[in-house]
Symmetry: C2
Subunit: 215 residues, 2 copies
């Protein structure tokens, strides 16, 4: 009555589960997601695209909501990694922020992000509150890492910041920017890399003017 759950701990008799198939499913899901077709795709199509039987798909993920969650979870993990990678050392504070901002903005202003966001919206529609678990992995981590950078700068008295958290949120908002809105409405094309850098630099300019030491 409880035997059918989770992994059979392996080692026992019987054919072992092929983990590669789990990956294949997630890969196929990601491909559909980034093509903006995941929400409309049937389980049959997903199984097909993954080269896997539908039964296997259901065995692994339970139902479509389960698969959706797993995919967002994977995306969240890769975002955390991305953010950590973005937060790398650089000669000056400005360079450090530039690194951070370019990586972040490149993601926020990409089609990729839009589709992840759309999936989150769909998930919330089916399971209100399910999205909360992904806050930490995404925006929460972003904010923490940026707070660390800004806190250090404040300690060095490079910046005059009262409330580090608020300041980090300000800079994040500027990086997200109005361009994200334009993209959401299909009111502009994706940014080229020069535009992106200009965008990030402008945000840093504004931020520095607002928070420079000795106001």
């Amino acid at each position: 009555m409880s035997e059918k759950n989770a992994s059979p701990a392996a080692g026992g008799p019987g054919r072992p589960t092929d983990e590669a198939k789990t990956e294949a499913i997630l890969d196929a899901g990601r491909a559909l997601m980034f093509a903006g077709r995941f929400a409309n795709a049937s389980m049959d199509q997903i199984a097909d695209a993954a080269g896997v039987s539908k039964v296997t798909l259901y065995k692994r993920f339970g139902d479509k909501t389960g698969l959706t969650e797993a995919m967002i979870r994977g995306q969240a993990a890769s975002m955390t990694a991305m953010i950590h990678a973005a937060n790398r050392d650089a000669p000056t504070l400005r360079d450090q922020l530039r690194n951070f901002g370019v990586t972040l903005s490149a993601f926020l202003l990409s089609e990729r992000f839009y589709h992840v966001d759309a999936m989150l919206t769909a998930l919330r529609r089916d399971q209100p509150g399910a999205t909360r678990r992904f806050f930490e992995a995404g925006p929460g981590t972003m904010r923490s890492e940026l707070m660390a950078i800004l806190g250090a700068a404040a300690d060095r008295e490079e910046l005059a910041i009262d409330d580090i958290k608020l300041a980090a949120e300000d800079l994040l908002s500027l990086w997200r920017g109005f361009k994200e809105v334009e993209l959401r409405f299909s009111a502009r094309e994706t940014l080229g890399s020069e535009e992106l850098e200009a965008h990030v630099d402008h945000a840093i300019d504004v931020f520095f003017r607002a928070y420079r030491a000795q106001g």
Copy 2:
């Protein structure tokens, strides 16, 4: 072959169309939308909630996508009105911006907005590019109105602004803020009115420090 289209120009014989029913449908749709249930609601349920036959519903809006579009269109119109109302005179620039920001942020940081956004996302999924038509009614108008305010302030040399458009986008981004992200992830409760005012004021503070005259 072309007689069945549009309105029969009225005046002819026959029972006249009851415009109140059109409104009833839109009202019911709005109610469902703000309850976050529109996307899941069947046409039968909507017709039911509106106290109208399903046939009437189809006669007026064609299909569910048509109804969705009509509802967003209505929402866009009321947003335009709201923004105009928010842009009212006040003794000082700061007061004027506060009026604007509070009205805008109250909307952006409400459940209402989240659901409108979710509908836009759903619409874009079914008809890519359809959202573009709503950019002007929403964010576009916002930006224009704010640009007018900031432009005037720059002319009076109250602010030192190079690029009015960029500056307006900066302030809008700050008003939207990280709190919108937290709400999107259900990572915080809706703001109370004091919190809201504090949020708006903080954004204005940051903006003024970045764009004050005589830097």
